[in-house]
Assembly symmetry: D2
Homo-oligomer: 363 residues x 4
Amino acid sequence: MVGGGTGAFIGAVHRTAATLDGEATFVAGCLSSTPERALASGRTIGLAEDRNYPTWQAMVAAEKALPAGQRIDAVCIVTPNHLHNPVAVAFVEAGFHVICDKPLTRTVAEAQELAAAVRRAKTVFAVTYNYTGYPLVRAMGEMVRSGKIGAVRKVFVEYHQGWLATDLASTGQKQAAWRGDPAIAGAGALGDIGSHAENLLRTVTGLSIESLCADVGTIVPGRRVDDDAAVLMKLSGGARAVLTCSQVCIGEENGLSIRVYGERGSLRWRQEDPNALTFTALDAAPQIITRGGVGSGDVARAATRLPPGHPEGFYEAFANVYRGAFAAIRGESGAVYPGIEDGVHGVHFIEKCLASKGAWVKV
Amino acid sequence: MVGGGTGAFIGAVHRTAATLDGEATFVAGCLSSTPERALASGRTIGLAEDRNYPTWQAMVAAEKALPAGQRIDAVCIVTPNHLHNPVAVAFVEAGFHVICDKPLTRTVAEAQELAAAVRRAKTVFAVTYNYTGYPLVRAMGEMVRSGKIGAVRKVFVEYHQGWLATDLASTGQKQAAWRGDPAIAGAGALGDIGSHAENLLRTVTGLSIESLCADVGTIVPGRRVDDDAAVLMKLSGGARAVLTCSQVCIGEENGLSIRVYGERGSLRWRQEDPNALTFTALDAAPQIITRGGVGSGDVARAATRLPPGHPEGFYEAFANVYRGAFAAIRGESGAVYPGIEDGVHGVHFIEKCLASKGAWVKV
Amino acid sequence: MVGGGTGAFIGAVHRTAATLDGEATFVAGCLSSTPERALASGRTIGLAEDRNYPTWQAMVAAEKALPAGQRIDAVCIVTPNHLHNPVAVAFVEAGFHVICDKPLTRTVAEAQELAAAVRRAKTVFAVTYNYTGYPLVRAMGEMVRSGKIGAVRKVFVEYHQGWLATDLASTGQKQAAWRGDPAIAGAGALGDIGSHAENLLRTVTGLSIESLCADVGTIVPGRRVDDDAAVLMKLSGGARAVLTCSQVCIGEENGLSIRVYGERGSLRWRQEDPNALTFTALDAAPQIITRGGVGSGDVARAATRLPPGHPEGFYEAFANVYRGAFAAIRGESGAVYPGIEDGVHGVHFIEKCLASKGAWVKV
Amino acid sequence: MVGGGTGAFIGAVHRTAATLDGEATFVAGCLSSTPERALASGRTIGLAEDRNYPTWQAMVAAEKALPAGQRIDAVCIVTPNHLHNPVAVAFVEAGFHVICDKPLTRTVAEAQELAAAVRRAKTVFAVTYNYTGYPLVRAMGEMVRSGKIGAVRKVFVEYHQGWLATDLASTGQKQAAWRGDPAIAGAGALGDIGSHAENLLRTVTGLSIESLCADVGTIVPGRRVDDDAAVLMKLSGGARAVLTCSQVCIGEENGLSIRVYGERGSLRWRQEDPNALTFTALDAAPQIITRGGVGSGDVARAATRLPPGHPEGFYEAFANVYRGAFAAIRGESGAVYPGIEDGVHGVHFIEKCLASKGAWVKV
């Protein structure tokens, strides 16, 4: 693991998710951006001294030098966004599989450089669009593909939070601070949550975004990145979509949701209530499909650990991304996980939204 | 009443709503567009023969000729949209108070002509934006005005239905047929439901729409009016808003909702669950405010007929518009109802959305 | 109307419900228990002087003396419970149809006396178990009868309110005062709301209560009637049921609900969300059946005034009881309304619960 | 671990829960009831050959013989119910800490024997009443203790499932088979889920059950244990409670819920929506308290791993029981977990319910 030291929210989530099924162990890492903090964080989580590295450059060199079977199989990159590209490229070029946080990079140029490295190295590269790991998100994708709702006509996807309704970054709160620095984060709400919404839309519908018109703004005075965006989109096949993301919505905790309307039916799902979706066929009563329940399908069942009625949550969805990446690393066919191309799409989306300035642009 | 004959959904609603509180009686009408059907419809609902008119022109002439005290106090106009203007102007100029369905007219020019007539006549003119009659919609307006959520920053308002997911108009279904004829309806989803959403937004926030960018489309093949729209907006005071309306959303029945986010709190309400709203103050737990319950306020209480827990619905909200209009007709101060200016705003909104074609336009 | 004067909640509800469909007009009444207040209340609601009676005895005598066609068709009795029996018997014996509030009487003896009078007079007698007027309650009854859930096995019915969590009666609040006087009300929570729950259970399942074991208590100090009860029941056909009612549940407004589990499916419905029910067939996903929506059936549709998504509420359900009674008065076949036998069952139920004292008793 | 071999649902849950926080490793076990299956299961989950035991007797002997530091710290017992007592007593007497599934034993006599062994050995003994591990369940307990709802008056606790609506045991389904055998399971629904409800009631309210009246039945023909129960209760301090549990409720998945009404407020929570509870203070609007959100309190926060809006579920709650047990094993003060006395109470409750036969019995 690179990044994710003491005090980092997402680093601890990755560690729990990666080990939830007992398929992985954390053996090496460089957990913070200065050698002192990196080493201290590594000790806190119990890394062996000789594989607790002061810098990621030291880590890639040392691990590469270890004999096969002793070195790490894969690295998980959970640094702030600006380091994703250099760290990932280095590990990919050293032949390691990578699980990397989103957004993939700050710019499309960086993303394409990284994608080229992955193509050359032929390694497994997973991007932790963790919300698509929810079993019922996968069920929706399978239902769309199998024609249960007919051709997609209209999609609403939203990701609304309220934790940045005040200028939290200027108080020094760690999560808010780096996310609020354009040099580190690249974008604000668009990168942090909008890219999750975009990936959710693409994963569920299987459609690509052909053009978009984005109204991106900064609502809280003093903030240096965007905290609110509304994006109108035309999708492949002629469908229309509306994506909204905002971090100033007081009362919203982690309000990611999607509604997909097709010619013959519709699907609705909310991340905060992830164990149920609503499916309505034309001229039929709405049905509640639960995770593991009737109608949830084989794809969802394969991503499910507990019987219906026993809530699964964020960790289990996150762990499904790891499970897919591990299956791919083992060379299994049919492994499901968001890959490098999902990451590139996400960075493209962010860049186009920022460039739109309220006008329609091709994607 | 003009319009609203046998088979018309909204005519019967108006009759029930207008008489719910026992403040009005239907004594005269011209209920359909041909003399034969008009007279037949009038007999069905029990109008006296001498006040069951074959044409609205005959009605306005005859009623005007009756002595004060015997003639109607007010007329309620529930014809298809294209007749709102001529009928309303005639009754207004004859000195009658008018309660008219929305959208007010098909064009801004017609709306302004009508508004000028009302100004000259100084009569009461109510537009049945019935959804703003819900007690908790009025409560939201009061909460915004009193500063409970601070300055408004972001608004989401949506009105999604599914009943036009197929080309119902071509089957001859009466409601769908006239709504699908551009010469009669003017606009499609924008006029039928989008204008309700626009009025809800303005009523709750008290803000005006300064500019907008609308993506308006026709999704169902064969339809001659719009059935789907997404509108980005800038409001007075700098707030942003997203309005979506669609009639092709299978599984949605009458999904009008609003979410308002301010500097210090937020409000959420759904028409299909009209007896509760969610209010969240910054750094406080969300509260469920019920109609008539704690925190709903004086304005909502004045529009409430039953104790909390005893559901009120569509009729009661609709009746509140009539109650306000009747109070105004009696000359009471403080009467609350959507007036001619709300109607003009609505027509403006529709016209600007249709003109936008995906670009920003001033309103 | 007898009872229901100024300040009475339920009197005004009856007047709105009875006239909602334009099938009735209030022409005569004795609206309160003293001549002065009765006459004043009658003037307030606009009764003609000569039919605004000082006592119910005067009313029954005078109306009976009027020629057919001029006298009232039916009387609606909304007095406190202790007057139901004498007033109802007098009007029934005078040949008038009666719509009477529940519980029918304070004692089974009174109920049987009244039932005998109705049998002799062959008049229409409706008891306003208004909650069974909800379209989806009727839909549930139809679904059970048609075998959609198979033989009923288990029923949970509950009616929880919080408005009597403090000793409201001793503050003089009018609704609470008479309901808290055992000489007037007979029972407390059992009569006021428990009998609604019992009628809902019987109406939906079509089963009768064969034996019961009731734990009836008074939780709020100073109260003179019961305010909380839990009743275990054995129903005809072997099903078990649990009925709970309580008026001390802070946070509950008017929480009447029913859940019916059969051999092949289940039904769930809540009065506070009356426009939807959940139907789950064995080995199928739960379906949301909305009023007027797919699967709600002919019986519900006949009791429905508005399209799905346009909420109906308490008034409309109440009006359906009147609509059924009026149809019966007109001699129509198939009129649906709770009759005298429902009222007698309700009084039986209350009496048996009070007698049980925690032991099983036959009903 | 003893029990929990291939095909056992709860064994895998225990392994995930125990290791979720990285505080434990599984090093030894006897995972099934015959030596062949035990050894095969142990290999499947990767136990070392020398600590993969054919019988639990062999395991307790061999582990006891290992030097301190090499032997297991604690054993987790997840066998069918009839083996809880002999296995637990043996490990306790050998000085091992125990985490044991519920119900503790089949009979009160066995439970008391085990409790005596624990008292003598002074070891840590946790019973996996896992639902009380939910952060918001702990929050409710804290809110009751701190007086937020005043003295408790009325409690409704229910646990309704539908998976045994047909005679699943006779089809050979593994979970259903042993649960349906009275010699192995002791009780049916009462033991499997009723005891969870009882523990939830006691944990949240802090009150004990003083007397009860239970209607326990077997609804599905052919079943040899109870599958449905309704229990009226008197609690210490005078509160009343109603507990219902049933496994024949088609459409219910894992419907455990609790509602607590006090003199000054109320609390409601549902296991299937575990990240929110509703708190209503007298004369105030209901508040939604989310896990980690405003008002959830310190106790809940200590049991929380993720920010609000990031759903936690069944595993995390289960892991909180382990976390508490591990803290106790390390000798930390303030460790929170259900202990031997909770287990004894549970067995008492089951036995009294079965003995009640519809009459009131002291507990």
